[in-house]
């Protein structure tokens, strides 16, 4: 479970005010809002990277964070980038990549390709795989579908469904409408406020409303 209680976060001004969210196992929470509305800040706060000015965040289990900017080293292969963040041996890594969730991402297909030679979709899959392979219980994803083609988006959405089914908790910050169809709850961020919204409404209506 993830419990966010009256959390406020400040940089030079207040970015988030009194955010309250509860996420249970197997739930996907969507975070929707314009650029600079505080979605990434909330994810950083949940990850423990940014300390809230007030309030409390309680998490049970290990957290994995797939940031908007990939934490990949261009000069290394996909395998070496995964190896950098885990203590698993090669056969364990290959076995994990062939598992029910990670096989959706198809990282095994380009495991020996250097990051600088990868497309945006491949990089995003690799970034996700390198986080998932460490076995997090809570997954934070910041703009996972940004700049991806349709097949890549489809694979990542499939992964989200598989991860939820396994009992994981996901927080997704995004502008992509198709992501929110797979979310259990969607919160709209505006002017530092976070409001639970009706996810059946079109995204543009939520943002403009």
């Amino acid at each position: 479970m993830v419990r966010i209680e009256n959390v406020s976060v400040k940089y030079k001004k207040t970015v988030l005010k009194d955010v309250n969210i509860i996420a249970e196992k197997g739930q996907c929470i969507g975070l929707l809002g314009l650029n600079g509305s505080g979605k990434s800040t909330l994810l950083s706060a949940i990850a423990g990277i940014k300390k809230p000015a007030s309030g409390k965040i309680t998490t049970e289990g290990k957290t994995g964070f797939v940031t908007q900017e990939n934490a990949l080293i261009d000069e290394l292969t996909a395998y070496d980038n995964i190896l950098m963040w885990t203590s698993l041996k090669k056969d364990q890594i290959m076995k994990a990549l062939a598992g029910p969730e990670l096989s959706i991402l198809k990282v095994s297909d380009f495991i020996n390709v250097k990051v600088r030679n990868m497309s945006g979709g491949m990089k995003k899959r690799l970034a996700l795989a390198s986080v998932i392979i460490t076995g997090p219980d809570i997954l934070l994803m910041d703009e996972p579908l940004a700049a991806l083609d349709i097949p890549a988006k489809s694979d990542i959405i499939k992964f989200i469904d598989a991860y939820k089914a396994k009992g994981g908790i996901i927080f997704i910050a995004s502008h992509e409408a198709e992501v929110f169809d797979h979310c259990d709850k969607v919160y709209h961020f505006k002017d530092g406020n976070c409001v639970l919204t009706d996810k059946s409404r079109p995204v543009t209506e939520i943002i403009n409303g």
Partner: protein
């Protein structure tokens, strides 16, 4: 690695070229510097002026020192104190007769601290000049002592003394090469070449931030976030990257040391051991700068400007003796000055 290797090869070659040919840039043929030296020549004996003119007309003195006559020793000391002149030479009353009588009169050389390059040169010349006058004094004494023992007449004695002055002392005092500082044969120029080589090396390694900033991930928030979540302390991340940079710099340094074995710079192979802590310090500085700026381009430009200015003020680009006095005094607060000194000491001691 290819980018790192290319950087060090390119700038290392440039540094080597400067070390090879830097003396031609710094020391132009026929270059001279005129500084003022106060002098007091007593009028009690015409030999004072004669001996003094022998010294003043020596080739290297003529092009370096402008002697200014003062009316008393006190005025000479005052002129040095008030920095109207760089140094002062005082011939005491009774100096010439004292030589002939054997009472060993001494010249007085007065100077304040020698800080600029010109002042260093003058200080060295003044000491040589005083020694040369001492040589003249000793030779003349020897002549008179011998003549006295041989029981020669006054006329024969002065005849012999004249010939000694003209032929023997004339040779000793008329040497043309007391101070040739336009070749590396002189100790000063060689020391300067060592300092140029050391400073160039430090400069090249500091500017390697151009390359390493693109590879260091500490300025990337995604990496820091990932590291924290993986239980890796950001400090451990920094140390790991800094140590990696140290290894790469050390390999490049080892190649440069081996290359310098074939030059007249004469860097000791022991430098491979002694330079290790200095390379580590530079590597940590470079990694730290890469962490400070999120953009590698910003890191490169800002560090280029900062390091170039600091190197100049530390006497790394031009000898510190060439700088204005107030900048020389400020150099003691410049950490790069000490880094260069340590590097020169480590490489050439």
């Amino acid at each position: 690695m290819p980018y790192v290797a290319a950087y060090f090869i390119a700038l290392g070659l440039a540094a080597l070229a400067f070390a090879f040919f830097g003396e031609n840039v710094l020391f132009k043929d026929g270059a001279y510097s005129m500084v003022k030296v106060a002098c007091y020549i007593p009028q009690d004996n015409a030999l004072n002026a004669t001996g003094f003119s022998l010294i003043a007309n020596m080739n290297s003195i003529e092009n370096t020192i402008s002697f200014v006559d003062y009316d008393s020793p006190e005025e000479v000391r005052e002129a040095v104190d008030e920095e109207e002149v760089v140094a002062g030479l005082i011939i005491p009353e009774g100096f010439a007769s004292g030589i002939f009588s054997g009472s060993n009169p001494e010249l007085e050389v007065v100077f304040k601290s020698a800080e600029t390059f010109d002042e260093q040169v003058v200080k060295d010349i003044m000491l040589v000049l005083a020694n040369d006058l001492g040589v003249g004094q000793a030779c003349t004494q020897a002549v008179y002592s011998y003549c006295d023992q041989a029981g020669l007449s006054y006329d024969d004695t002065t005849d012999i003394a004249d010939r000694v002055r003209t032929e023997e002392l004339g040779y000793a005092l008329d040497r043309l090469n007391i101070f040739r500082y336009d070749t590396v044969d002189s100790i000063s120029a060689y020391t300067l070449t060592q300092k140029i080589a050391g400073a160039a090396l430090v400069y090249v390694f500091l500017l390697s931030v151009f390359v390493f900033a693109y590879f260091c991930k500490g300025s990337n928030p995604a990496f820091i976030a990932r590291a924290k979540l993986s239980g890796i302390h950001p400090a451990a991340f920094f140390i790991t990257e800094a140590l990696s940079v140290t290894v790469m710099m050390y390999i490049a340094f080892a190649v440069i040391v081996i290359g310098l074995q074939f030059t007249k710079i004469g860097i000791s192979l022991m430098a491979l051991v002694r330079m290790l802590p200095i390379i580590a310090i530079i590597a940590f500085i470079v990694t730290g700068v890469s962490y400070l700026f999120r953009s590698p381009v910003s890191a490169a430009y800002i560090s280029f400007a900062a390091f170039t200015v600091l190197m100049y003020l530390a006497g790394g680009l031009l000898p510190i003796e060439f700088l204005p006095r107030f900048l020389q005094e400020g150099a003691v607060y410049n950490p790069l000055k000490y880094l260069i000194d340590f590097a020169v000491e480590a490489m050439f001691a």
